[in-house]
Amino acid sequence: MNASMTLILLMAVMYASGVYVMLERSLTRVLIGFLLVGNATNILLFLMSGRPGLGPIMNDGVDAADISDPLPQALILTAIVINLGITAFMLALIYRSWWLAQLGAKGDLIDDEEQDLEDALASAAELRRSEDDDTAIHAILDASDEHLDATGDVDDTARDADTDAAELLAELTALDVPTDTSPIEVQRSEQAGRDGTDDTSPRDGSS
């Protein structure tokens, strides 16, 4: 059996570089390594077919010793097809793995859900800030009420404004949003907040 030295060298280099790349952390490199090693193995199979010869078709006047060995070629073909299928699956797996990695610790959330959660948290914070403003206004109003009570001269319009403000305050405290609620609760309270108060949410167009 005389084999081609070039092919042997090529196979050796492909094996070496393939194994080297396969040891990397990145999955894409592992896949490249697998492709290199897999094709090096195919070359090994090919090398085992012995010396090259005529196409393996028996005709008149063709000596069986002159034709090349067809079996390794059939084996290589099968191996290539299998490798192709596995590569396709690996690519899908790598894509999925990359996708999961992009989401980080959030795991399997879908992009839209993640965006919704961020929006909900942002508007909850906004709501809390506007609530603080309201409390400050109430403090001022209460102070002015006390002043009015002290003089004994009760203005009807001021009284009305006071009751309105008290109702608003009650509504707002009922809506107090803790920071670690689930996104659904946050969204729900955000929705209610938008109905009850002035729209302070920055994302009114998207709702």
Binding site: M1, L45, L75, I86, M90, S97, D108
Partner: protein, 522 residues
């Protein structure tokens, strides 16, 4: 009727195609796949009866005679493996149907499950009937490719992580296998196993050694033999319970089957039995020590799976007829018991809502039936006398005592220790999860528990013992499997008889060669 043999592969493949076509009709899918697997059980039952009487059957695929065409060979060993794996595949399928119907918000897209599962069956059957080394490789690839899909079902983060390890390790083992096929072809000019049996023996001893070890590495990774077994406990436990059950039961045993073939048909004249005895003992001890450190039952069982592969290696390493017979019996026992245990784990997960020793308690009261269904195979695996595990182990030890050598005695000692430790690990789990009262769970502190490794993917450690009802189908299938493990004891006589006849066939490679080449090898 050797014409029936190709049907073992054809029926699941055609059914897989049909289940893809009817992907949107789950009921039809269920009907197709269960019919197909029932048919394979029937065919393999007929085959084993015929082959045990009339001797092995050979089919030349496409009508091309053996050295040129691909030969499918079913001898007694193949027939035994076909029957037991067909039964397991059918049982697990029904179990998973029961589970799928019950789980409304399941992670497993059923439309993919059935085709992959059927192709997995076709791959397993192909490896058992292959009479040709390259056909064996194709069978391996078919079953591995579908196992990749099954292991990463649903594509959740942890399954992808576990799947990547599994897939890359399997790919490397396949490349080892393919490279050794290439070298064997280069050395002998054939891939037909019967022809190889003759020609490999004519090679110089050093060339034989290289080819032999290359093949063993490829098969060793698949069979999860000790230094090559690290991947198994990391990848199996994350899959859905039925998938883990069928992987644990069958996939490693396919590797063991290939090892038996390598040792008996291909390299009958080249003796590596000392290596097998050493590696076998190491696999047993290292595997079971790993199991002792686990709190999660799925990981615990995965480690016992690795450790019990050691018994089979020990039996192969004895290289006597009795050793092989005991190995074959042990393989059958282990396939059944390991599958059953993983199915019961699925029941525990449903009933208790967890699989970790630290979060399970009081299940005996919640579900006494599950407690019994776990207890029987656990004792069986541990080798308690009336059960098949005991018979298998005693068979192996007696075969060892009949061919004594220092290594064999070490192997027997390792086997006895492993058996005890298996019993310890499993009964400890049973005590904690089933026997201990719910109240003990909260304040339970123990050095032992703290030193146990939690599974890295364990969810929050809140103590919550939920109890849910288990679908009747799942319970019925598991009960049936447990009954089968008990039946392995009841019918141990006939089973050991056929295992012995299979081993006698294997010990004379000329028998296999004559079967494939009735007129002698060219």
């Amino acid at each position: 009727m050797p014409e029936l043999i190709p049907l073992m592969v054809l029926i699941p493949l055609i059914a897989a195609a049909l289940t893809v076509i009817f992907g949107r009709q789950p009921r039809l899918q269920v009907a197709i796949s269960s019919t197909a697997l029932t048919a394979t059980v029937a065919i393999s039952a007929v085959q084993i009866a015929l082959i045990d009487q009339n001797g092995p059957a050979v089919v030349a695929v496409g009508g091309w005679a053996a050295p040129w065409g691909i030969a499918l060979v079913v001898d007694r060993l193949s027939a035994i493996m076909l029957l037991i794996s067909a039964i397991m595949l059918l049982g697990v399928l029904i179990y998973s149907i029961g589970q799928g119907v019950a789980d409304r918000h399941r992670e497993t897209p059923v439309s993919i499950f059935h085709p992959s599962y059927l192709i997995l069956s076709a791959g397993v059957f192909t490896t058992f009937i292959a009479g040709d080394l390259f056909n064996l490789y194709v069978g391996f690839e078919v079953l591995l490719a579908s196992s990749y899909v099954l292991l990463t079902l649903g594509g959740t983060g942890e399954r992808i992580r576990a799947g990547v390890t599994y897939i890359i390790v399997s790919l490397v083992s396949s490349l080892f296998f393919l490279a050794s096929i290439a070298l064997i072809y280069g050395a002998t000019g054939t891939v037909n196993m019967a022809q190889l049996s003759v020609r490999l023996g004519e090679l110089p001893a050093d060339v034989q050694l290289v080819l032999h070890v290359l093949l063993l590495i490829g098969f060793g990774i698949k069979a999860a033999v000790f230094p090559l077994s690290f991947w198994l406990p990391d990848s199996y436990p994350t899959a859905p319970a039925p998938v883990t059950a069928v992987f644990a039961g069958l996939l490693t045993k396919v590797g063991v089957y290939a090892l038996i073939r390598t040792e008996t048909v291909l390299f009958a004249g080249h003796d590596l039995s000392a290596l097998f005895l050493v590696i076998g003992s190491l696999t047993m001890i290292v595997g079971i020590l790993g199991a002792l450190a686990q709190a999660d039952i799925k990981r615990l069982l995965s480690f016992t799976l690795v450790s019990h592969i050691g018994y089979m290696l020990f039996g192969i390493g004895l290289a006597t007829t009795l050793g092989l017979a005991a190995t074959i019996y042990y393989v059958v026992h282990h396939i059944t018991v390991q599958t059953t245990l993983f199915l019961t784990t699925g029941l525990i997960e449903r009933t208790g809502g967890a699989t970790s020793i630290n979060r399970l308690a009081g299940l005996l009261k919640a579900s006494p039936l599950v407690a019994i269904l776990f207890f029987i195979p656990a004792l069986n695996l541990g080798g308690i006398p009336p059960f098949s595990g005991f018979i298998g182990k005693v068979g192996l030890f007696m075969a060892g005592a009949a061919a004594p050598s220092p290594l064999v005695w070490i192997g027997i000692a390792a086997g006895a220790i492993t058996s005890l430790l298996t019993l310890y690990a499993l009964t400890r789990f049973w005590n904690m999860a089933f026997w201990r009262g719910k109240g003990e769970l909260k304040g339970y502190e123990s050095v032992l528990i703290e030193s146990l490794q939690e599974a890295p993917e364990a969810p929050d450690a809140s103590v919550a013992v939920k109890t849910r009802t288990v679908p009747a189908t799942m319970l019925a299938v598991t009960a049936g499997m447990v009954a089968l493990t008990v039946a392995l004891t009841v019918f141990a006589g006939p089973l050991f008889g056929i295992a012995e006849r299979a081993a006698e066939d294997l010990k004379t490679p000329a028998f296999y060669i004559d079967t494939v080449f009735p007129g002698g090898v060219q």
